[in-house]
């Protein structure tokens, strides 16, 4: 297993996807050897100097704590790291959509974490496992860190990261649902988490079956009418981002607080939770007798 590169930069920067290739070596994907960091530092584009958000140290220390705390069960690290990464690396969605930021985090800052988290076990079928390249540089819902950040962004309920923990505790939910448009509607995301929390929906097959049913029904139903959401004030998020300057390191035990935005309207979440529960009753789920 590799360690961090010899040279880890002090600040986050942007690493273009076209420039990624020389560092995404076969040895790295197999978890055998990582680049030294010096050459990579030459091809990045810097981010503004005066912004405290780009300090690497808090992020580096988070991933190290995650690797230590979850050394016995690395999958569980997702639910722990997602809210804490989100509260540490405070971004607007515009910034978070920039793949170059995630490329840099992956290759310059914490390639060792990605190998630790995503290198498959050695099996008879796969004697030489390798990490999928898209965990380093790839779609937002696959790349190791952007996937966690977006899961936290889409499942948080205003400042409350509780739903993020629940959502990220279910690999199928973040694997399948994160890719679907339905999750962009906040009350829908919260209703899904509630069904998970109450134990009405548990297995991966059930999550997949339910999300397909929601999507299918959504082709003729406009969920925004059944469950209206409130517009959010951009100033609240900006304030939270500005506070990064003076923010303490995130709590390792309790959950941090997210931006102080209004939660999704309770009536909307409750209405959709009830509606999805009904849909789920009749949804075809692999491995379940039809009709529940």
């Amino acid at each position: 297993m590799i360690t961090q590169p010899n040279h880890v930069p002090e600040r986050l920067a942007l690493l273009g996807t076209s420039a990624v290739d020389p560092f995404l070596t076969e040895e790295l994907l197999r978890g055998e050897q990582v680049h030294g960091g010096i050459d990579l530092a030459k091809v990045v584009e810097p981010l503004p100097e005066d912004d405290a958000r780009w300090w690497i140290e808090p992020i580096r220390s988070l991933v190290e704590d995650a690797m230590f705390a979850f050394r016995e069960d690395r999958t569980r690290a997702d639910a722990w790291l997602a809210p804490r990464l989100h509260a540490t690396l405070r971004l607007t969605r515009r910034e978070a959509a920039d793949k170059r930021l995630w490329n840099h985090l992956a290759l310059a800052v914490a390639p060792d974490y990605i190998v630790w988290r995503h290198l498959p076990e050695v099996t008879a079928k796969q004697p030489e496992p390798r990490v999928a390249a898209q965990r380093f540089s790839g779609p937002a819902d696959r790349q190791c860190f952007s996937r966690l950040w977006w899961a936290a962004e889409l499942f948080r309920n205003g400042p409350d990261y509780g739903p993020v923990e629940i959502a990220c505790g279910n690999q199928d939910l973040i694997h399948t649902v994160l890719r679907m448009d339905l999750i962009d509607h906040r009350p829908t995301a919260q209703a899904l988490v509630r069904l998970l929390k109450s134990g009405q929906v548990t297995t991966g097959r059930e999550v997949n079956g339910l999300s397909t049913a929601i999507n299918t029904a959504g082709a003729t139903l406009i969920y925004d009418i059944l469950a209206p959401d409130e517009p959010h004030d951009p100033a609240t998020l900006r304030d939270w981002i500005a506070e990064a300057e003076s923010a303490q390191p995130v709590d390792r035990h309790g959950l941090p607080d997210g931006p102080d935005e209004d939660p999704a309207p309770e009536e909307s979440v409750a209405a959709l939770t009830g509606y999805f529960a009904e849909l789920f009753e009749t949804a075809p789920i692999r491995g379940r007798e039809s009709g529940g």
Partner: protein, 331 residues
């Protein structure tokens, strides 16, 4: 053609943008010229004023519902009209209710707020007429048939995604990865925010040619060159997008949610004509990952790129211009 389990209107909603203004960080407003939006292109360009200090944009909307929506025997009630803005890159979905202009009329209007922090490039705007049908709330009765494009960066309201052309000295650029391409006149970067052609300023005269504004042969050669670059770019974009396709648990490929998906939707009808874009995507994916048919498809992909780049037109004009020049020198 989708089949609906309830009665709908067969005609679609007409949507117009009536005004666009930016709210700046100091609280003032900047009302944009009407050239910021185009009804024909169905596009809005929020970058037209060259500002980067805006916080949000307010887009005035006016829609006309098709006839029949107010019919006394219509099977729907509780009619409302909703404008929905979505952005696959930033997972944003915002909606706003429009209000009826005059009782009994077909026209509704309202204003949509677009937050700059919420978008990196292009979002799309659709309008739905929604009602309660057969006791079911939230049924969509009809929609806009084509979404408007709200581009938060572009300075020109055009629907088709435009290439960005940038220049750099490949030999001396601080972006060291460019050094490897020092002898290429241009390269294509499909991983940037929008597909980008980087032109190598080390090739003498190339920038002069690209910037030329003359009306003579030179400008026709420039257009030909640009068409050539664009053909390269669209071919690369297509291959890049197809190579990165996500596959659903059922095995079918899904359209990327960012501009790559947009480009695929535009090019696929030329690559696999005569079928729905979803089916075309499945066929292309099958051919690439399957055992045969990928090589045969290259001609079609190139053809789609040539069309997307308007290369035929550029060549025709260049030839005509050369002929004219020859005639002039003969006489």
């Amino acid at each position: 053609m989708k089949i609906y389990p309830y009665k709908r209107l067969s005609r679609s909603i007409a949507l117009r943008v009536t005004s666009v203004s930016l709210r700046l960080s100091d609280g003032t407003r900047d009302r944009l010229e009407t050239s910021a939006y185009s009804t024909q292109q169905q596009a809005v360009a929020l970058g037209i004023a060259g500002r980067t200090d805006w916080v949000s944009a307010t887009i005035g909307l006016s829609v006309t519902l098709p006839p029949g929506v107010n019919a006394p025997d219509a099977p729907w009630s509780e009619l409302c009209v909703l404008a929905v803005l979505t952005d696959g890159e930033t997972n944003v979905r915002t909606s706003v209710n429009l209000t009826l202009d005059t009782e009994g009329g077909h026209d509704w209007s309202g204003a949509l707020e677009v937050l700059r922090d919420d978008h990196r490039g292009r979002a799309s705007l659709a309008v739905y007429a929604v009602g309660t049908v057969d006791g079911v709330r939230g049924r969509s009765i009809t929609e806009t048939d084509r979404s408007w494009i709200i581009d938060t960066v572009s300075d020109e309201p055009v629907r088709d995604l435009q290439l960005e052309v940038r220049q750099a000295s490949f030999k001396r650029s601080s972006r060291e990865w460019l050094h490897a391409y020092a002898d290429a006149p241009w390269i294509v970067d499909t991983s940037a925010r929008v597909p980008t052609v980087l032109v190598n300023t080390d090739i003498e005269g190339v920038m002069g040619l690209l910037d030329s504004n003359s009306s003579g042969v030179e400008s026709k050669v420039r257009d030909l060159l640009v068409a050539q670059m664009a053909t390269d770019a669209w071919t690369a974009v297509f291959h890049g997008a197809i190579g990165d396709l996500e596959v659903e648990s059922g095995g079918g490929p899904v359209f990327p949610t960012d501009w790559q998906g947009e480009v695929l939707r535009e090019m696929l009808p030329d690559v696999i004509p005569g079928v729905h874009v979803e089916e075309a995507l499945r066929q292309v994916h099958r051919r690439r990952t399957g055992e045969s048919g990928w090589v045969e498809l290259q001609t079609r992909i190139h053809y789609a790129a040539v069309r997307r780049a308007d290369a035929g037109k550029a060549l025709a004009y260049a030839i005509r211009s050369l002929e004219q020049k020859n005639r002039e020198s003969e006489t």
